[in-house]
């Protein structure tokens, strides 16, 4: 056994306050398990934003439609990696697909993931891009022409009838996709919410809170990417689009905030057996990440900024600045939310008599660098996607430049 790890555990033993069961000294779900719900949340949120265009016909949001879908795909491709790296027997991960235990929420991961990737996201993207891919396949030179043709699955029909069918298919897929996105992230919340042994997790609100915070983080991410992308490309930002998205973001933050407040008040008012230790937990171990990062920086300040930005008439540049600041703060807040759930839930003893400590590795496979790499990777993938695939419909682009 790794002697360094043993030494770490001895060090952590010195930081224990009160009584913990002896097996509890090791924190089993590390930073990678924080990254996982954060990333899937971004997927679900970005997809919900995209579906505003197709299902709810919010035309203003159209300029971010493709970007949102590509973002969802880039992050979805990375989503299983933190889980895989976290397994202590990663070579056996395929067993989740081969011999799933049907009573396990986690065993459903494979199916929910495969469904969402194959039946929703890839299919919707294909129908959305099919026409453009055919055109690009004809216009580009080798080898790109072949790549585009392969991506279009060698379809050639760009007649009006075919394109109309594409649009119809997209609408159908999006209608299936919204509950699927809810499922994808609601189920992640269920994994935590259904653990009755852990009073910090065990809450029927957990899937809903996860979902709302997912929508918040996903929308905020797409806003961030849209602003960065237009500035890199030196294009003007469609302020009507931005204002509309931000107003959705604003309401999503309010709902999310209310749900979390409800959860908090409910726990406090019910005041169950665990309330004392949870009280010590949040004032002691989670003070910084919960009160400062999640609630103050991640919620109250961005909400305040958005209220100011919406109630006063600022010029475009000022609004952009305010929006940009708030979406970054919101990301910090949502990441802290995930941290507080995953790590926070493992910092108190199930004997309700003591608190443990978590020491994050820096190098190791479950360390900070691995987590950062996994958070950067989706942006790399997204860059490749954006290089390869236009983020606005080609005819729109032609019309606008003309």
């Amino acid at each position: 056994m790794n002697p360094e790890r043993i030494q770490d555990l001895f060090d952590l033993l010195g930081q224990v306050t009160g009584y913990i069961y002896p097996n509890e000294i090791e924190i089993h779900w590390s930073i990678l398990v924080v990254v996982y719900p954060y990333v899937t949340g971004l997927v679900a949120g970005a997809f919900i934003l995209a579906s505003l265009v197709k299902v709810f016909k919010v035309k203003e949001v159209e300029p971010t439609y493709r970007l949102a879908l590509l973002t969802a795909l880039a992050f979805l491709l990375v989503a299983p990696l933190p889980l895989l790296l976290h397994l202590s027997q990663p070579m056996r991960s395929f067993e989740i697909f081969l011999t799933p235990n049907l009573t396990s929420a986690m065993a459903m991961f494979g199916f929910v993931y495969a469904w969402y990737l194959m039946a929703v996201l890839l299919l919707e993207l294909w129908f959305e891009y099919r026409r453009d891919l055919v055109v690009l396949g004809k216009e580009s030179t080798f080898p790109m022409s072949w790549i585009y043709r392969a991506l279009s699955l060698f379809s050639t029909d760009v007649s009006d009838r075919a394109v109309a069918f594409d649009l119809k298919a997209i609408r159908m897929i999006t209608i299936i996709g919204i509950p699927s996105a809810f499922l994808l992230h609601g189920y992640v919340g269920f994994i935590f919410g259904s653990v009755k042994a852990n009073p910090w997790w065990s809450s029927v609100l957990m899937p809903i809170v996860f979902l709302m915070s997912a929508i918040v983080s996903g929308i905020a991410l797409v806003v961030f990417l849209y602003m960065v992308l237009t500035s890199i490309r030196n294009q003007p930002i469609d302020m009507r689009c931005l204002d509309t998205i931000v107003s959705y973001l604003f309401y999503a933050v309010i709902v999310d905030f209310s749900l979390e407040a409800l959860d908090f008040i409910h726990r406090l008012y019910q005041s169950e057996e665990s309330v004392k230790i949870l009280g010590t937990l949040i004032t002691n171990k989670l003070f910084m990440s919960l009160f400062v990062l999640q609630i103050l920086l991640g919620m109250i300040i961005p909400l305040g900024i958005l209220v100011v930005a919406r109630s006063r008439t600022f010029n475009d540049d000022m609004r952009k600045l305010l929006y940009f600041t708030s979406v970054i703060l919101i990301q910090v807040g949502i990441f802290s939310t995930r941290w507080n759930v995953v790590i926070g839930g493992q910092l108190f003893s199930k004997s309700f008599r003591g608190l443990m400590a978590y020491k994050m590795e820096v190098m190791g496979i479950e360390g900070l660098l691995a987590a950062l790499a996994l958070l950067i990777l989706p942006f790399v993938i997204l860059t490749v996607f954006i290089r390869l695939l236009p983020t606005e419909r080609m005819e729109d682009h032609v019309a606008r430049t003309a």
Binding site: M1, Q89, P90, R92, I96, S104, A105
Partner: protein, 268 residues
């Protein structure tokens, strides 16, 4: 009787004896079902599994009784368990451990695990006159009849046997540690060598051979009582009949099969 008659009789005698034995065997099985595994009364090393057939798990449902007042906190059970089951010696990995409770007259409760020498251990000894009550509580996997760990295991690596023991298949466990999170008793840990979840098995390898779990075997005060809930003659059933019994965290509806006699309400 001449030699010929004797040999004739012998030829008939053996098959007939065998036939009678076959016909009688189910009855005999029934009669001994309770006590067969040698897990009862003086039990221990005596009875072997029935010579006629293999071990039948459906005829058993194992549990453990713990008499708090008999535990002297010697930790021999913990040592025996570690030796028997290849549990790492470091004080972060336990299939069973002993907790020491000290309750003072003003109702202050101090708990420590006597197998973990952490900061403050032993320094907490109060003035004797202030102590209202002090006792040891052996802890182990509760072998729940309704186990949350089995429910959540994504690949079915942890499972309940027909004789009521929760086991982990170390060749199948993927090390996701959802079971560790789901166990309300913190009875599970990740084995640092196999990198799979590990926990008390009631020494299943011994029990199916008619032996007692290692911890029960070595307990000098018989504070731990192992037995078969399906056998009315078992020591465990007797213990449960003679004492007021409590289980840990009953509100979680896990139906634990480790039964505590003389348990204080402070114990969680």
């Amino acid at each position: 009787m001449n030699k010929r008659q004797f040999l004739k009789g012998l030829i008939l005698f053996f098959p007939a004896g065998g036939l009678t034995g076959v016909l009688a065997s189910p009855v005999r099985g029934k009669e001994t079902s309770g006590a067969d595994k040698g897990t009862e009364a003086s039990g221990a090393k005596t009875t072997q599994p029935q010579s006629t057939g293999a071990y039948d798990p459906e005829r058993h449902n194992y549990g453990m009784g713990i008499e708090i007042d008999k535990c002297i906190g010697c930790s021999r059970c913990v040592e025996a368990c570690k030796a028997e089951n290849n549990v790492p010696q470091e004080p972060f990995f336990f299939r069973t451990w002993i907790e020491r409770y000290v309750i003072t007259k003003d109702r202050e409760v101090t708990v420590e695990s006597i197998n973990v020498k952490s900061r403050g251990t032993r320094e907490l000894a109060q003035d004797d006159r202030e102590i209202l009550r002090s006792f040891f509580v052996p802890k182990l996997c509760n072998q729940c009849a309704h186990p949350p760990c089995v429910q959540v295991c994504p690949v079915g690596a942890t499972f309940s046997t027909k004789d009521g023991v929760v086991l982990v298949d170390a060749n199948r466990c993927i090390g996701c540690r959802y079971c560790v999170q789901a166990c309300p008793y913190a009875a599970r840990y990740l084995h640092p060598e196999t990198k799979t979840a590990d926990k008390c098995t009631f020494c299943y390898h011994r029990v199916v051979k008619g032996l007692l779990p290692a911890c029960v075997e070595v307990c000098p005060t018989q504070a731990r009582v192992f037995g078969d809930l399906k056998s009315k003659a078992s020591r465990l059933v007797r213990l449960m009949r003679m004492n007021k019994i409590h289980v840990l965290k009953p509100s979680l509806n896990t139906d634990p099969k480790v039964y505590y006699a003389q348990l204080d309400g402070e114990v969680r």
